[in-house]
Each structure stands twice: as structure tokens, then as C-alpha cells.
């Protein structure tokens, strides 16, 4: 089982990237430091190689009605050139993956979490074959490079490098500049941004141009470390941490991403039941009162010592100089202001429940 490498892997190394493993991919974790890269994204701009994300094309006569049935948002209302963030659910209402989907003329583009790519492909394949949908799925993950530009200068860079008309470019919409080349106004981050998808053959050329422009503006090349902190502060869920097959959108506190008015969709019934009976767990924000970062899987306790949940992500926010965490807790204890304990190696940490999302004003999904 070999590690998957980015098409530009050697290039990242030559730029001094410190590599690490994420969801089976060897990825740049940072080039110089997470702190510097994070602040570049907040103050000017940062450039990420996110080619590890799953990328699919869905085509066929019934593709739109299929997506309407297989995800929990009203996909049929999405106009050409626009997109949405949505969940594919299993029969129990658990999340197969959280993905962004975009509508092109005859087809849909789907971007999935890296950790759920293979699973999502099999799930789609199973549904299509079993229920005889006229839909075709093509996994183009390794045929496309995918870059993300984040930060207040991201839009200027895009407008400078690409022939963008001088108009408003709404969020969650994309433009195609040549057959294999698309730019999406979207960032999985507390900051605004754009994502650039192109055929691998064009990847290096565009990467170099982007690097040059980003550096000219005092921005930085960024790795997954900064990306994770920026998505964490915006409270976007990550597959394998906040989302997995045992977690529902209601437990995530994202009922706004469920379009109940749709006739039927996979997982609708169990979700309705959950809404009626109440969720088993609830995602909460935690401010840690101590100098340790809780990691995925650390158990949460009430002050009386009753186990009540677990941590899904923990991070140190360089902006707020605070340790923050996300976690699932028994809804009885998941009340803002409540204090819980985190069991961490060799210590216990006090954690106060605070409101979500941590960062307000980011691009909402």
C-alpha cells in the first residue's frame, strides 16, 4: 500500500516543504512555519496544493434527480455555474461524506474529503447499480491538480492572472476558462478564497505563476497545518474527525443543510425521527483553560467525572491566543457556559463550552 503522491510532490520538496501523511497522501504540512502561513492567509494571501481532495464527475440523464435523492440538499435548484456544500447520507442518516458539488451544463463536479474518496465512490457506484440510475461516475482525482488561494488578496490575484470579466463573482460559483480549467469562488476556511482545478498537464505551469504572484505580494506557500487551523476556526467539519458514518447533520448542528421540503432523500426518515426524539450527541466548541492541545479521541467528562463525549479536533489559535477544541457531547451537558474536563495524557484539562462557529463572518457553507 504505497503512499499517494501529489503530481507536484517533488516541486514542493524542492521548495523546502516538510511532508507528512494525511489520508494516504504525502502532503506538505508546512513550508516554513504554520504560524507564518496562517497569518499570510489572514493578512495577504496563501497558496495551497489540495490535489489530494477527491474529485468526481457525474454525468447522465438522471444525474440531477439522483443527486437530489442521494444528498440532503435541494440540488435540483442549483443553477448552472453554481454549487453547494452538501452531505451524502447513509440509510441511518449518518454522513458518508460532506462534499461540495457544482453544476456544469451536462454534468456535476463533486469535491470530497480525501479520507472519504474511495468510500464515496463505492457508495455512489452501489446506489447507481442497485437502483438502476442512469448516472455515470468518473473519479478524476489523480487527473486533476487542485490549488487553493486564500486571503484578502486572493481575488486580486485571480483577476490579475486570469481573464475574469470585471463583475461581481458570487461565492459558490465557478468559471471555466478552457476545457480542463475551472476556478471556484470558495474556501474551506475562515478567509475568503478561490480554488483552481486544472488538468495535471497544466498544473505545474499555473502553480509557478501563482507562486510568483503570491510571493510578489508577500504571501506564502502553505501546507495542511495552516489549512487545518483556518478550517477549524471556521468550524467546517473534517471527515474522520467531525464527520463519519455514525454522525448525522443534526448532531453537527447543521439542520440548515437539510432541505426537508424535498420529497425523499436517503436518510430523511431517520433524521426526522432524530429531530423528534432528540440527538444522541451534539457538536460543541470548547475553550481549553490550560496549556495543552486536546487531540482527536480524548474523552470528555463532566465535573462529577461522568464520561460525556470526546474531542474531534483541537488546535491553538494564533489569532486569539487560545486553545480551542471541537467535540461531541451528550446533549444534556452540551450547554454553553458549562465546564467539562478533558482527559489528556498525564493530566486533565478544564474546558468551557462556547458558541459555534468560532470565527464569524467567514464563508458559510
Amino acid at each position: 500500500m504505497a503512499l499517494k503522491k501529489l503530481p507536484l510532490s517533488d516541486f514542493h520538496r524542492s521548495l523546502g516543504a516538510r511532508m507528512g501523511v494525511f489520508s494516504g497522501w504525502e502532503m506538505p504540512l508546512y513550508y516554513r512555519s504554520i504560524r507564518e502561513e496562517y497569518f499570510s492567509c489572514i493578512n495577504s494571501c496563501g497558496l495551497f496544493d489540495i490535489s489530494h481532495l477527491g474529485k468526481f464527475f457525474l454525468r447522465g440523464k438522471e444525474v440531477t434527480s439522483f443527486l437530489d435523492y442521494a444528498t440532503c440538499r435541494q440540488v435540483s435548484k442549483v443553477k448552472e455555474g453554481k454549487g453547494k456544500y452538501t452531505f451524502f447520507l447513509n440509510w441511518r442518516g449518518g454522513i458518508v461524506d460532506g462534499t461540495t458539488i457544482f453544476r456544469e451544463k451536462e454534468e456535476w463536479i463533486l469535491v470530497s474529503n480525501a479520507g472519504a474518496r474511495e468510500k464515496l465512490f463505492h457508495w455512489l457506484d452501489y446506489l447507481i447499480k442497485n437502483q438502476k440510475w442512469e448516472v455515470e461516475v468518473e473519479d478524476v482525482t489523480e487527473k486533476k491538480t487542485f490549488f487553493a488561494l486564500q486571503g484578502p488578496q486572493a481575488q486580486q490575484i485571480v483577476r490579475q492572472l486570469f481573464p475574469v470579466p470585471n463583475d461581481n463573482w458570487p461565492k459558490f460559483s465557478f468559471r471555466q476558462f478552457s476545457p480542463g480549467f475551472r476556478i471556484i469562488h470558495l474556501a474551506f476556511s475562515r478567509e475568503d478564497g478561490f480554488e483552481i482545478m486544472s488538468d495535471v498537464s497544466l498544473g505545474l505551469e499555473w502553480w509557478k505563476k501563482l507562486v510568483e504572484e503570491v510571493e510578489r505580494r508577500g504571501g506564502a506557500l502553505c501546507g495542511l497545518g495552516a489549512r487545518d487551523l483556518l478550517r477549524f476556526e471556521a468550524t467546517f467539519p473534517l471527515y474522520g474527525q467531525e464527520i463519519d458514518e455514525t454522525t448525522t447533520p443534526l448532531e453537527l448542528g447543521r439542520e440548515d443543510l437539510i432541505d426537508w421540503e424535498k420529497d425523499d432523500f436517503i436518510g430523511k426518515k431517520p433524521l426526522l425521527l432524530e429531530k423528534e426524539e432528540g440527538s444522541k450527541k451534539k457538536l460543541v466548541g470548547l475553550e481549553i483553560l490550560g496549556r495543552r492541545i486536546p487531540r482527536y479521541g480524548y474523552p470528555l467528562y463532566t465535573k462529577e467525572g461522568m464520561p460525556c463525549g470526546y474531542v474531534t479536533s483541537g488546535n491553538y489559535s494564533f489569532s486569539w491566543h487560545k486553545v480551542l477544541a471541537l467535540g461531541f457531547v451528550n446533549p444534556i451537558y452540551g450547554v454553553e457556559g458549562n465546564t467539562l474536563l478533558v482527559a489528556a495524557p498525564w493530566t486533565k484539562l478544564e474546558a468551557r463550552i462556547i458558541g459555534l462557529p468560532f470565527a464569524k463572518g467567514g464563508l458559510s457553507i
Binding site: R18, Y30, S33, I34, G225, R291, R292, I293, R295, Y316
Partner: protein, 126 residues
């Protein structure tokens, strides 16, 4: 990878500099492995430690790791700057990012530390 000459090293990636008392810290290799350091938990001044004791911890964005005493002795000073600027460990692991000073109690223990070449060879096995 910066491995200065004239320092001694442990398998737990501590460097030790002998100047009457010893000054110690974590190596460039270790700080690079850890990534951005955000907190350093320092040992108490006056604490008697045995070689290999857990004397503190370094929390980075990626992971937590523990500091192990490179030698037995008494902790006589710690780098208080690290409380305010833990990133000094990343920026200057052998200089401003030093961790503590120890009054060693057993000269024999120096023999078990590695020199530059030995530490380099050891890193290749990691």
C-alpha cells in the same frame, strides 16, 4: 539539519553544552519534527532530576512530546522567555530557545552522550 560541533546529544534529541553547569535544549532535528511549538512546560527550579526523568513537555500544533533529563542533577535555571515566546525553540533551538540549566551530579554520565558524528549516525536510524 543543523548539528553544531562541540555539543553533546541524547537519544531523546536533547543537546547538552558543558560550561561548568550544563545548558540544554532540544535539537534542530527535534524542533523540525515537532513543528510550531505553542507551549513549553518547564521543570521547576531546584528540582532534583535523574537522567531520563520526564521533566517537562513541549506542545506543538501537531503533537505533544516530553522532555527527558539528559543528565542527573539539579535544575538551577529555566528559560522563562519560553513562556511568552515558545517559538524561540523553532527559531533558535541551540541559542535563545535553550530550555534549562542543570548542575550535574555524576560526571560519568557524560560518557554516555553522543558527539556530533554519533548523533548524525543515530539520526539516520530514526
Amino acid at each position: 539539519m543543523n548539528i553544531p560541533d562541540g555539543l553533546l546529544y541524547t537519544r531523546e534529541h536533547f543537546w547538552v553544552k558543558k560550561e561548568g553547569v550544563v545548558i540544554c535544549g532540544i535539537t534542530d532535528y527535534a524542533q523540525n519534527e515537532l513543528g510550531d511549538v505553542v507551549f513549553v512546560e518547564l521543570p521547576d527550579v531546584g528540582k532534583k532530576v535523574k537522567k531520563g526523568d520526564r521533566i517537562g513537555e513541549v506542545e506543538s500544533i501537531k503533537t505533544v512530546s516530553y522532555l527527558y533529563a539528559p543528565l542527573s542533577g539539579e535544575v538551577i535555571e529555566v528559560n522563562k522567555e519560553l513562556d511568552k515566546k515558545p517559538e524561540l525553540i523553532n527559531q533558535s533551538p541551540y541559542g535563545e530557545g535553550w530550555i534549562c540549566k542543570i548542575q550535574p551530579e555524576n560526571e560519568e554520565e557524560f560518557k554516555n552522550l553522543m558527539n556530533k558524528e554519533e548523533y548524525e549516525a543515530f539520526l539516520k536510524t530514526q
